[in-house]
């Protein structure tokens, strides 16, 4: 990559300062949108760019904005900064080092759907980042970029941060809305979807931090320019969070469609201590386990290609597993996580993650029988398609794929 589009602080020192961000064209796209474009025209540009949600679901961003019910007001925008998937740490880097580009993305989204208030929902652990964003927001008010009558127009906008308090489930958009409303973070039955019934019962757009951070440059340089990155159906760049058994873990901003091999070996410099790569989890703990053979390593990381390996791209949190790792132990780790994070609303997920976690502990302690292995798969299959949100589904991806693709780890 010649130039970073999202992790721009790696090219431009001090871009976290408002003056520096503005020297590099910051808030010009927002000003141009408010002063020269209709809200629908802004949405059309984002639609044409092919940008898809970077939080995991990959839903087309512009389409989401276009869904907003125009017969029900006010509208809200909520930025999803709850980043809690094990293996994901990209939004944090954006907010810490390039906060204004993210905030400008929130502001453009708000204008596009004519919201006058936007909330940024941060996981509670991002307490310091929230304080910093509050300072940024105060500076934007002082600079006349937030508040009433922006650029002499009738458009007014305010941004507020809202801190979660340690609940993975709040990354699910309807649980997040419940949480902002001061309730338990438990998902809602859908439909209706947030663009019709969202925050405080009003039409709401919920977008991930990375998604929104793409928006200012798309508006500044045009949809055609953005479409020149990535693949036919997966346009643009993506931040891949690389972790696990790899020499150089970290965030890598690369075009969608980059191969696993390029990320893990080319950038991450491969697996340490002379071990061999055994498996890849491309979407964090929620991921199916991919057998890391040559075919997998040469697969492009985009929304279409990863499913051909029986997995999803998700939030592109690539966890590398080497041949020293036993899948029994791995499942005990992911299942402990999901057991802890299940919100308790749907019985199959609440009870299922509990039982799967206990079975996995038995497997690790070598107190398990062959019947326990069968029971583990059985419980997993009973969770499938029976819950309001994806958490229950996510909890079984690693279980079912490990049993199917790494049977040797469960025999004897």
């Amino acid at each position: 990559m010649s130039e970073y589009l999202l992790l721009r602080h790696r090219d431009i020192p001090n871009i976290a300062q408002l003056a520096v961000y503005r020297q590099h064209g910051g808030f010009e796209a927002f000003r141009r949108a408010v002063t020269t474009m209709t809200p629908d025209a802004v949405t059309e540009v984002v639609k044409a760019s092919g940008l898809r949600g970077r939080g995991g679901a990959g839903f087309p961003t512009g389409q989401k904005w276009a869904f907003m019910d125009k017969n029900n007001w006010p509208h809200y925008v909520v930025a999803n900064a709850d980043e809690s998937e094990p293996g994901t740490f990209k939004d944090r880097e954006i907010m810490e080092y390039n906060p204004y580009q993210f905030l400008e993305g929130v502001m453009i989204a708000a204008y596009a759907v004519q919201a006058h208030v936007a909330y940024i929902y941060l996981r509670g652990e991002f307490w310091q980042i929230a304080r910093r964003l509050d300072e940024c927001i105060a500076e934007l008010h002082a600079a006349g970029l937030l508040g009433e009558h922006l650029f002499g127009s009738d458009y007014a906008l305010r941004l507020y941060t809202h801190l979660g308090a340690g609940a993975y489930i709040c990354g699910e958009e309807t649980a997040m809305l419940e949480s902002i409303e001061g309730k338990l973070g438990q998902p809602r039955l859908r439909p209706p979807f947030p663009p019709f019934f969202g925050l405080f019962g009003k039409p709401t757009v919920v977008n991930n931090v990375e998604t929104l951070t793409n928006v200012p440059l798309i508006l500044a340089r045009g949809a055609e320019w953005y479409r020149s990155f990535g693949t036919e159906k997966s346009r643009g760049v993506k931040i891949f969070s690389l972790s696990g058994c790899v020499n150089r873990p970290g965030n890598y901003e690369l075009p969608l469609g980059t191969t696993f091999r390029e990320l893990i070996v080319g950038r991450g410099l491969g697996v340490p201590f002379g071990h061999k790569i055994k498996a890849i989890m491309p979407a964090g703990a929620s991921s199916s386990l991919i057998v890391a053979n040559d075919e997998a390593l040469d697969t492009p990381m985009d929304y279409e290609s990863v499913p051909r390996l029986g997995a999803q791209l998700g939030s592109a949190s690539v966890i590398v597993i080497d041949d020293s790792v036993n899948m029994r132990w791995l499942l005990s780790k992911t299942l402990r996580f999901f057991k802890h994070e299940s919100c308790g609303k749907c019985t199959p997920c609440r009870e299922g993650t509990y039982w799967m976690s206990h079975i996995a502990e038995r497997l690790v302690a070598a107190r398990a029988t062959a019947a326990d292995v069968e029971l583990l798969g059985n419980v997993a299959r009973q969770i499938k398609n029976k819950c309001l949100c994806a958490l229950g589904e996510f909890s079984i991806e690693a279980v079912i794929s490990a049993l199917e693709r790494f049977p040797q780890d469960f025999s004897g």
Binding site: P86, A167, I180, K183, L184, G185, S241, C245
Partner: protein, 166 residues
Amino acid sequence: MLAEKYPDEVAAILAKYPPDHKRSAVMPLLYLAQRQEGYVTKAAMQEIADICGIQVTEVASVVGFYSLYYDRPAGKYRLQVCTDLPCALRGADEFLAQLCQNLGIQLGETTPDGLITIEAVTCLAGCDKAPLFQVQSADGLTYHENQNLASALATIEALRRGEQQP
């Protein structure tokens, strides 16, 4: 009482949300309450319920649901180590065991001087800088990344001396 001790903060929190949705203030108010004692007292829950116009049991259920709120005291600092998969692949479990052994306490326990409570937590979004922990106190929350036993003990020593968290 929150309203007397932090009147500006309470007003600023309420101003974030529509006037007819005061319940939204419950989470930020709980953080404010925790700033006093390190946990949320029964009296604070009642006051928050009154401010938000909800029942105290609804406030208590929020405290119970979210893992960063506490309804009972612990050490002055909660040292919370992530042991999820990516961190565990980089030695987080061994790091945590060493730390507990060195402090002479079990997971979830508090050092005899009441300074440090050791806890294992789920992913903190710092997987590339594992092992890592966060320190939660009445004053907020700080991250400590790329840790080993020596650096963690140095942090604890600094906390013990009452120095600013490094």
